[in-house]
Symmetry: D2
C-alpha cells in the first residue's frame, strides 16, 4: 500500500484514493488524524444497520478525493486555482472532522457540553499548523470561510459541499440503504463558479433534486431512525449518570474518559488548557464503549441498566408521532418505571426520554444551492425546480417521541 509517501488507499466506494503529496501524507500519519480511525462516522447506527462501522477517517479521505475531482472540473471550465490553493482546499476538507469526538452528538450534550466539533477541529488545525511550520495557513482560511476565493469554502462547507456528497454516498453504501446513493460523479461535472460562488449548471437540476430527496430519505431512514435515536439517548443518559457518579466516587474508566468525567468542560476550558485538547485527542469510541461494558456490572441500578442495555442491544421502545405526548401519559410511564425497577423519580427520569426531532431537507435561508442557466441567470434551487416540491421540502418536519424500557410495554396503563 505504502511506497515512500505515495500512498494509495483502497476504498470500496470510489475504488482508489491517492494521497497527493508528502504534506498530506504526514498529516494523515499524525495521531490527530489516525485517531479518526477509531471514531465511527455513524456512532451507534450499526446497532440497526450492522454494516455502518465506517469511520471518520475513511470519510475524510473520501471527501478529500471528491475535492480533488471537483477542482479538476472547475479548472477544466477555465477557473484558475493555483497549486497551493488546491492543496489548501484539500487539506481543509481532510481535516474538517478532526474535532469530532466519539459518538459526537451524544458527547456534545454530556461530557464536553456545549463544545462544537467545528471549534475543536479549528484548534487542532492550528496545532497542526504550528507543527508543520505554518503550512496550513491557507487551509485554515478556507475552513473559516475567510479565503478570497469563496467558492473554495463553499466546497468545504455549504448545503452542497464535498462533506455531504461523501457522507451521503458512503453512509448509503455501508448501511445498505441504497436509495440514499447519490450520483456523485454526475453532480461534480455540473459544478461551476460565478461571482466567486459555487453554482450548479441547469442541466443538473434533476440530479440536485434527487440529491435533496436522497438526503431527506437518509435522514428519516438512517440518521433519525427511531431505534438509533433511542440508542443515542440511552448513551446520553448513561454518560450523564456516569458524570454524576464520578463527582461522588471513583468510577472505572480509561484515563482519557476519566479526565472528562471529572473535569468541567466548556469551550473556554479548551482554549485555556492545552492539556484538555491533548486528553481529547486520546478519546475515541473505545474509551466510551469499553466503559459501558464494565459499567454493565456496576452497583448503581441506573448506570448498569443503561450500560448493559446498550451493550447487549436491549434498546428502549420508541413511540413517535406528530403531536407532543400528554403529560398524563408521561407521568403514568414514569410511575411504572419507578414501580418496576424500584427507583426514585430522579432515577426513573434516566429511563424515560421525551423529545422531538425535526429535519429540513433543504434550508433556503442558509447557504443556497444556486443553479446557473445557459443565459447566465442564477436561481436558488427551491425556485429553479420546475415543480414546487423543493420549496415544500424546505419546510421542516417535526416529530415527537417518547422512549422507555421495553419491559414496560405490556404493563397496564401503558
Amino acid at each position: 500500500m505504502v511506497s515512500n509517501k505515495n500512498k494509495i488507499f483502497n476504498d470500496p466506494v470510489y475504488g482508489f484514493i491517492s494521497i497527493p503529496d508528502a504534506l498530506h501524507f504526514d498529516i494523515i500519519e499524525h495521531q490527530f488524524f489516525q485517531r479518526l480511525r477509531r471514531i465511527k462516522q455513524l456512532g451507534l447506527t450499526h446497532l440497526v444497520y450492522p454494516g455502518a462501522l465506517h469511520t471518520r477517517f475513511h470519510h475524510s479521505l473520501g471527501a478529500m478525493f471528491l475535492m480533488q475531482q471537483a477542482i479538476q472540473v472547475l479548472r477544466s471550465k477555465g477557473h484558475q486555482i493555483t497549486k497551493d490553493e488546491s492543496i489548501a482546499a484539500s487539506l481543509a476538507i481532510l481535516l474538517h472532522d478532526t474535532g469530532h469526538g466519539p459518538y459526537s452528538h451524544t458527547l456534545e450534550q454530556t461530557i464536553v457540553k456545549g463544545v462544537s466539533h467545528e471549534a475543536i477541529s479549528l484548534l487542532m488545525m492550528q496545532k497542526l499548523n504550528a507543527h508543520f511550520g505554518g503550512n496550513l495557513e491557507e487551509a485554515i482560511a478556507i475552513f473559516k470561510g475567510e479565503h478570497p476565493k469563496r467558492f473554495l469554502s463553499n466546497m468545504v462547507s455549504s448545503q452542497f459541499d464535498m462533506d455531504r456528497l461523501d457522507y451521503l454516498k458512503r453512509d448509503s453504501f455501508f448501511t445498505g440503504v441504497t436509495e440514499g446513493n447519490v450520483n456523485v460523479e454526475r453532480l461534480l461535472i455540473m459544478l461551476d463558479v460565478v461571482d466567486n460562488e459555487l453554482v450548479i449548471e441547469a442541466k443538473g437540476i434533476y440530479s440536485i433534486e434527487k440529491f435533496i430527496v436522497a438526503r431527506r430519505l437518509m435522514y428519516w431512514q438512517v440518521y433519525l431512525h427511531k431505534t438509533v435515536l433511542s440508542a443515542e439517548f440511552m448513551l446520553t443518559n448513561a454518560l450523564n449518570r456516569a458524570k454524576e457518579l464520578s463527582a461522588q466516587t471513583d468510577l472505572w474508566a480509561t484515563p482519557a474518559l476519566q479526565y472528562f468525567l471529572k473535569n468541567a468542560t466548556g469551550m473556554s476550558d479548551f482554549e485555556q488548557s492545552s492539556e484538555m485538547l491533548e486528553q481529547f485527542s486520546r478519546l475515541d469510541d473505545f474509551d466510551v464503549f469499553t466503559a459501558l461494558k464494565v459499567w454493565s456490572g456496576h452497583p448503581d441500578k441506573v448506570l448498569s441498566y443503561l450500560s448493559s442495555s446498550i451493550v447487549n442491544r436491549h434498546l428502549f421502545k420508541v413511540e413517535i408521532r406528530p403531536e407532543p405526548f400528554e403529560e398524563g401519559k408521561i407521568e403514568a410511564i414514569r410511575q411504572s418505571i419507578m414501580r418496576h425497577f424500584s427507583m426514585t423519580a430522579t432515577e426513573a427520569n434516566y429511563l424515560l426520554i421525551i423529545g422531538e426531532t425535526s429535519n429540513h431537507a433543504y434550508h433556503p435561508n442558509q447557504s443556497q444551492i444556486n443553479i446557473l442557466y445557459k443565459d447566465g441567470t442564477i436561481k436558488d434551487i427551491s425556485s429553479a425546480s420546475d415543480q414546487l416540491n423543493i420549496s415544500v421540502l424546505s419546510h421542516p418536519v417535526t416529530k415527537h417521541f417518547m422512549c422507555y424500557p421495553k419491559e414496560l410495554a405490556g404493563l397496564s396503563g401503558i
Copy 2:
C-alpha cells in the same frame, strides 16, 4: 427493522437478510451472538484497508443467508430436506464462529494459547442448547459432522462451504479488493448432492476455478498482506509482554482481559471452569484495543513501544522473500535494536519478528470439491479442470519474512 420477531437486516452485500423464525431471532438476541458485533472479521486488517471493519456478526448472518439459498436450490433439484434439518443447518452456520475471540489468530497464540475457536464455538452451542431446551441438538450434530445427511455438514465446513463463500465476498466488498469478489449466486445454483455429499455441476467448473483463484488472490493481497501480518505479530508480542508483566505486577486492563492475563488457559481449563467461558464471552475487540491505548503510556519500554506503535499505525518494516533469512543478518538487526532502544536481548526479541507463511489455494487432500458430470461421473476439481492450473495451485507457496522497527531501516548494518 424489528417487527415482533420478523427481523430483516440491511446488508450492503446481499440487500436484505431475513431471520427465518423465532428461535433464530432469540439466538441472535442472545449475548453470545451479540458479542460478535464487537469482533471484527479481519482483526487489524483495517490498518491497511480502512473499510475492513465488518464484524463476525455480519458474516454469520451472511453465511446463514447463503445456507438458506443453498437449501432452496437443493430442494428444487429434488433433494429432500425437512424443515427441522433446514433450521438446524441454518443454526449451525449461524453459530459456527461464536467461539472466535478478538483478533482471534493472535489470541490463540497468546492469552488463550492452544484453544481453537471451533472448540469454544462448540462449548457455546452446548450452553445455548441447554438454555433453549435442547433445540440445538441437530444443529450441533451438523456442526460436528455427525449428522446422517453429510452434505449439510459439507455446507457448514468444507473447501466449498457457506462460510468461505460469504467471507470471500464480504471481505472483498469491505476491503474494496474487487478481484476477490465471487459470483455467489452462480455458484449456489450449481450445487447438487450425490451419494450424500455436496457436488458442483460440471457447467460450473469455470466458476469454481475462478473461486479458487479469487481465494488465492485474497490470501496474498489481504489475509497475508505483509503490513497486516506485521501488525498482527506486533499485537502478539504486545499481549505476550503484557502477560509476562501481569505475572509480576498489576497491569491496567478491563476485568475480562485481566482474567486472561492472570490465568493460565488451555482447553481443559475451559472444559472445567464455566467461569472461563463466561469471562471469554465478555472479551472482545474493545478490551484488547483499549488496553493498547492505555499501555501506550506504560513505563515498560517494550509494552509501550509496541502498544503505541499499533495504535498510531507506526508499523514495523517487513522484508519478505522465498528463502529464509541468514542468521547473521538477523543478529545484526537484533544488535541494532538493543543499541537504538537501549534494550536487553530479551527485550529486543519482542521487536524482531522472524517467521514464514504459506498458502494452499486448494488442498486436494482435504475435503475435495467434487464436480458432477452429466453422465453421472464425479471428479475432484483438481483433475476435472481441463487445464492443469488447479493441480498446480494446490502446491503450497511459502514465504519468509522478517519485521523490525522502521527507525532502524536507515541504520548502518541493515
Copy 3:
C-alpha cells in the same frame, strides 16, 4: 444455458432469471415472443444513451421475474395464491408487451395509427391461448383486469406494477442514468394485500416517494429527453412521408413493412384480418431502420433528408420552453426551410416539428398507490406522504418544443 426446458437466463440486472415451467418455456420459444428480441425497449434513445439497446424481450423476462418474487412475498404474508394463479399472473406479465411494434410510440402515430399495443397484445395472447389449448385463459383474465383476485391485475398494470418496476430499473441500468435506479428488492418486500387490492406497508413510504421521484427523473432525463424526442418526431415524419409516397409509387421496403405502408390500418382491420396480425408479428426494428438506410438515397428530398439524418445522427435542433412558440417565429423558420432546401410549404412542414409534452410523476386519479398503516388504515401516497411534495408532483408539467434542421440555426431570423 438450456437444459431440457429448465432454462436460466443471465441478466445483468438481477443475475439469473429462471423459467418456471414448460408452458413458460414453450411460449418464450414461440415466434411471437422471440420477435421481442428485435424490438428495443427504448426505440431511438440509444442515439443519446448508447447503452440503451436492451429489448422488450429482456424487459418481459425481468417483469416475470419480479412477479414471481412478489408472489413469494405475498404468500409469506399469508395470502393464498394457488399454483395456477401464480402461473397465470406470471404469463400475463410475460406477455403484456407482445403487442408492441418497432419504435412503438412512433408507429402508433403513423403506419398503425390509432391501434394501441395493449389491444394487439390481447389479440396475440388469444392466438397463443388457442395454440396452447386454452392454457392462457386465466392469464388473459388477469391481463384484462377481470380476475376475481384484483391484486394480481394490480401487479400487471397499475401505478406500481411489475412492468414499471422492471423498466425503471432496467432503463436506468442500460442508459447509465444511475439516479433512476430503484430499490426493487426493498419495494417488493413491502407489498401486501388488503380488500383484494395491492398495498404498500407504511414503512416503505420513503421508498415509494423515491420511486416516484426516480420515475420523474427518468422521464425528463431519458424518456422525454429533447434529443430523443427530436429523433422520434423525425421518424414519425419519415414514416408518414413514406406512406404518402407509397400510395403513388413503389417504395423499397421489406415485405412486412411494405404491407403496412400500402394498407390502411385501424383496430377493426386487425380484428377482421388475421393476415394483418400475421404481418404485424413479422415487423420489427430491422424492417424500419433498414428502410431508413435505403431511403437515405431516395430521390424524394424530404424522405432522404429525414432518413439519412436519423441514420447518421444528424438530428434536429430542439428548442424547449414552458410557453407555446409564437406563430410569427414558427412561420419564419418555415420560410427558412423552404428557402434553404428549395422546398414547398407542404414539404417544409415535414422538417418542422411543433408540439408539447407533459408528464405526471404520479396520477392520484388513476389506480392509486395505497399505503397500509399498522393500525389497518389505508391512505393514498399523495396524502400519506408527510411532506406535500407528492401531491405537488402529481400536478402535470407541460413543456413546448420546436425542432428543425440544425443547418438553419445560424441563419438570420432564427
Copy 4:
C-alpha cells in the same frame, strides 16, 4: 448531452466518457464511426445472453476512455507524452475497430472472404486522414506499430491493451457473466514504461493473473459458448448459400448487401476500388439480419431453413468433445439430414457443421506481458507468476464440435 463539441457520453460501465477535443468530436460524428452504432460487439451472442446487444461504437469509446486514463498514469510516473501523442494514441484506439463488418467473424469467411478487419480499419483511417487534412498521421503510425514510442502501440494492440481491457469488462457487464469482470482501475495504475515498452509493476501480478483467468473464462463461457458457435456457423452457411444463389438468380437484399453477394471480394479489390470501401461502409447488422428475415420465406430449402432458424432461435444441437468425431458418425448424420429434409448431399452439408476451436489464455510467444520488479528486473508474466499456472494456461486447449438440426436428435442412428 452535446454542448458545442464538448460531448459527454453516459456509459453504464465507466459512468461518463468525455470527448477530449473537436477533432475527436468530428471523427465520432463521421458516418464511418456512426456506422459502428449498428454493429454489435458480440454478433449473435445475444441469442444466448440477451443483454449482449452493445455495439462496437460503445466499445471504441470505452477503449478511448481507458487510453486517456492510462496516459494520465504514465505521465504521473514521469513519462513524457506530448499533447499530440496523447491525441494520436486516443484516436488510434478510437478507430481500431472501424473496419469491422456486421457479424465480423462470419463475414470474413463468407462475403468478404480473406479480408481482415484490421486492413479495412487502416483503409478507413487513411480516408479519414485525407478528409481531416492529415491530422491522423501520427494515429496511423501508432496503429501500424511504427511510432517511435512503442509503448503507445502496445496500449493499442498487445496482450494487455486498452482494447482487451475494455471488451472484457464491457462484455462481462452486458452479458451478466460477472466472473469476467476485470478491475480495470487497479490494472491501469500498475502501468509503467521501461525501454520504450509497456510493463506492469510487480505488485499488480495477482491482478494480471486474475485478468488472464477472467479472459479464459469469458472465452469458454461466452465467446466460444457452444450455442453461440452454432448460431455463427449457421449464419456462415446461410450467407454462403445466399452468395451461391445470387450468382444464379436475383436474391432479395439491401443494396449494400446485394453488392457483396454479387461481387468477388478480396483485399486487392478493396485497395483498387474505392466503391467497395464505400459500399462496405454502408453495411451493418441491419442488412444481414433483415435479409435473414426475408429469406425465411425463400423457396430454397437450405436458405429458408437456416434463415428462419436463426431468426426464431431454433438453433442446431451442438456436440462437443476433446477428440475429433468419427467419420462414420458424421456420415450417419448427413444421411439423416438428407432423408429428413429430402435434400441432396450438397444441400445437407449446409446443415451439418464439423469443426474445432481452441483457445490460448495467454500466448507467451506473442507480445508478452512484462512484469517490472522494484530492483528494475523484468520478467514475462508466465515466468513471473510465483505459481506455474500461467505457464500452464499458455498451452492451447482444443475442442471438437459437430452441429446439426435439433429435429434429428431423437432419430435412430444418432
